[in-house]
């Protein structure tokens, strides 16, 4: 099948265009070997199917980030039949910088001149014919959010795919650099290279670390052996190459693009004056976050979550009745109703919560507010040794820590990234809410909101303190500079918001359906064995494990084997804690019997102490998996598991001991 690659700057509307092109025919995966998301879709045009690959958004095709390397590798080695380059018409010069690089690679490019309506509103005049002629590529004006120009874009792309053109931009970098490029090409000509020689030559001059290390490793060629005439002015060269590209672009746009003399203040500028205001920015940010969480809980947890819970119960008793009518043995009935339905049920119950949270996050992202949030938080985060963008990954962690950990990819600096990964599990994820809710209804039915808020707050506080400690000890050094584009505010498109939500939720569901299901099944088996003991009793393997580790928790006020079993299960999946507590205490998964059992097994103080423990202790297996994948290190994964346990234990013991000392026990 023929392949079309989609390339463009961040905020150029590339994702919107991809969604408009492919509709629901999308698959999300990973690029092999790296942690960059790979989006693939397919379209049908004149009865033929085409694959569309959405490459990561990039400003340049250097090796600034993994994203850039992935994008350029795919263009050079993935051999897409044609490349659609999404260019933001309101920001044409900068966007053409990427176009030029594509043309230097010799890619077959069609430019989608996107957001052409916004450019008109900004009084930017673009002579498309002249621009197309000068660049030597077809250009199709589009408005991806309104699905305009899509048909023509596809037909142009496919037309070009079938044409046999070999277009390659030859930019003059000035006499001396051009000569040096020729020199390098001569040296390279005796090697069998993976990439085009002239492209490599330019990259060598640009000082591209990825290309240089590859040359060094595979061909034993170092930069100093390649550079001849210009060897002394290495650093200047790197910038001069960029300057020359811009010069080349300016020569084109001078004739084809007319910018207004004065920048006209847009509605977006006016909104920004308020949103990023010196004094108003933080209160507004706080208010937006408050609304996001209020809506998430009101709609996701209380409203929809309740319905799902009801449905699961009906399903459970339905299956039980069917099995009984078939005279199925007790252990089989137990496996289905308690193990499977119970396990899946606890997971599904908070799917609505995640759905609502990610939809709201999607709206913030798509509207352009997320970039402002990073901007607003940068000062505070920097004081704590973090980066403004770290805050975004923390917010995402409130839904589920797995995407939270994965979202740290946007941080380029290793230090920022490692710290953000290590503190993310302190963000109380959706799964942990179930645990709090049971304890709240047992002990604090009238001040549930306050308890929840305090727990979230404690999680953030511990995360920030740990960040500060890490940045002073394990990860010293500067945070990377804050450089972030603040795109204009835009009306979020329903399609993008739903798409983004579904990508997150479906990933979660797959995980729930595999990992969590698997884990819950194992716990069930451990609770049933050895054969002959009462299920979920202290004599079962699970009970014995609990008995073994329970003494650790005596100073925290809940040194019972049941509580220990609950916490042990939580390392597998936090969703399992409530279900397991229910089974070991009351022989039911949830409901008033469990609440009663908890009331007699805990005191209000030990309940608080236990909630603090579940908030902070070892991340669940899925999160540890994500940490392993993102850090690429088993050592840091083990560290994450152990240090968070230690912190949780300390805080939990502190809460219980101080509480007892002042007479709260």
């Amino acid at each position: 099948m023929n392949t079309i690659a989609l390339v463009g700057n961040p905020n150029s509307g590339k994702t919107t265009l991809f969604n408009a092109l492919t509709g629901s025919n999308q698959r999300v995966g990973n690029w092999p070997g790296v942690t960059v998301e790979k989006k693939e879709g397919s379209i049908k045009f004149k009865d033929k199917q085409y694959t569309i690959i959405d490459l990561p958004g990039a400003y340049s095709l250097g090796s600034f980030s993994e994203d850039e390397v992935v994008a350029r590798d795919f263009i050079l080695k993935g051999n897409p039949d044609v490349v659609i380059n999404v260019v933001d018409a309101t920001n044409i010069e900068r966007n053409l910088y990427l176009t030029i690089q594509l043309l230097e690679m010799g890619a077959k490019v069609v430019v989608a001149l996107n957001m052409i309506d916004e450019a008109k509103a900004k009084k930017i005049e673009i002579d498309i014919n002249t621009l197309s002629q000068k660049l030597g590529v077809p250009i199709v004006p589009t408005i991806a959010s309104k699905r305009k120009g899509i048909e023509e874009l596809v037909s142009k792309a496919i037309e070009l795919m079938e044409k046999d053109v070999d277009y390659k931009a030859h930019i003059s970098y000035g006499e001396s650099i051009d000569k040096e490029i020729e020199n390098i090409k001569k040296v390279l000509s005796s090697f069998d290279l993976d990439y085009p020689a002239d492209w490599i030559a330019v990259k060598v001059l640009e000082g591209d670390p990825y290309v240089l290390s590859k040359l060094e490793k595979d061909y034993n060629l170092s930069k100093s052996t390649l550079l001849k005439d210009l060897a002394e002015k290495e650093e200047d060269l790197e910038l001069e190459v960029i300057d020359k590209r811009y010069e080349y672009i300016n020569n084109i746009t001078r004739e084809a693009v007319k910018l207004p003399d004065e920048h006209i203040e847009t509605l977006s500028d006016k909104i920004d004056k308020v949103i990023t205001h010196k004094f108003l920015a933080l209160p507004i940010f706080g208010l937006i976050m408050f609304i996001v969480f209020q809506l998430t809980f009101a709609i996701g947890e209380d409203f929809l979550g309740g319905y799902i819970g009801g449905l699961i119960e009906i399903l459970g008793s339905g299956i039980e009745n069917i099995l009984i009518s078939f005279n199925a043995p007790d252990w089989l009935i137990s496996f289905f109703t308690e193990g499977i339905v119970g396990g899946i049920g606890t997971v599904l119950e908070f799917v609505p919560l995640i759905v609502v949270l990610y939809m709201l996050m999607g709206i913030l992202e798509d509207s352009g507010y997320m970039a402002r949030a990073a901007y607003i938080m940068d000062n505070i985060m920097r004081a704590l040794g973090l980066h403004g963008k770290s805050f975004i990954s923390m917010i995402i962690g409130f839904g589920c820590n797995v995407p939270g950990v994965m979202s740290t990819r946007t941080l380029e600096n290793k230090k920022d990234r490692m710290i953000s990964i290590l503190i993310n599990p302190f963000m109380s994820c959706g799964a942990r809410i179930q645990i709090y809710l049971v304890f709240i209804s047992a002990f604090f039915p009238d001040s549930g909101g306050l308890v929840l808020f305090s727990l979230y707050f404690l999680g953030i506080l511990v995360a920030l303190i740990m960040a500060k400690i890490f940045s002073k000890t394990l990860f010293k050094g500067e945070s990377s500079y804050f450089i972030m584009e603040l795109p204009p505010y835009r009306m979020p498109t329903i399609r993008n918001v739903l798409r983004n939500m579904w990508d997150n939720v479906s990933e979660f569901l797959v995980r729930a359906g595999t990992v969590i299901f698997f884990v819950v099944s194992i716990l069930w088996v451990l609770a049933m064995l050895p054969v002959g003991v009462e299920a979920y009793s202290q004599e079962s393997i699970l009970g014995k494990i609990g008995t073994l580790i329970a003494p650790i928790f005596v100073p925290a006020g809940y040194g019972t084997w049941q509580a220990a079993v609950g916490l042990f299960s939580g390392i597998a999946a936090k969703e399992a804690v409530v279900a397991i507590l229910g089974m070991v205490y009351a022989g039911v998964e949830e409901g008033s019997a469990l609440v009663n059992a908890i009331q007699s097994a805990f005191t209000p103080l030990s309940a608080v102490s236990f909630m603090v423990m579940t908030l902070l202790y070892t991340p669940c297996a899925a999160t540890l998996g994500a940490i392993k994948k993102e850090t690429g290190s088993l050592k840091w994964t083990a560290f994450s598991a152990l240090y968070s346990f230690a912190i949780a234990w300390l805080v939990s013991v502190l809460v219980y001991q101080v509480g007892s000392a002042i007479g709260l026990g």
Binding site: Y59, R94, K122, I264, K278, N379, E478, Y481, E485
Partner: protein, 74 residues
């Protein structure tokens, strides 16, 4: 026409980039974003937090540490 750092300019002021004195990686990124020597920019906001500059109406926030290293002439 004196050369000052970007952080010294008030909001609303226009200037031209004279020199960027940051590390190679950051400098390159700025160049690629169109903030190269000679480009005309406007300071949109400079009070607390990162400095926001506009280049042809396109806004980019730059951390204060970085803005300190960008020399401009107003």
């Amino acid at each position: 026409m004196e050369t000052i750092t970007l952080t010294k300019l008030n909001s609303g002021k226009k200037c031209r980039i004279k020199k960027i004195n940051a590390g190679m990686k950051a400098t390159k990124r700025l160049y690629e974003l169109g903030l190269n020597t000679g480009s005309k920019i406007e300071v949109v906001k400079n009070d607390i937090g990162p400095v926001i500059v506009s280049i042809y109406g396109n806004k980019i926030a730059l951390g204060r540490g970085l803005a300190e290293k960008i020399y401009v002439v107003s």
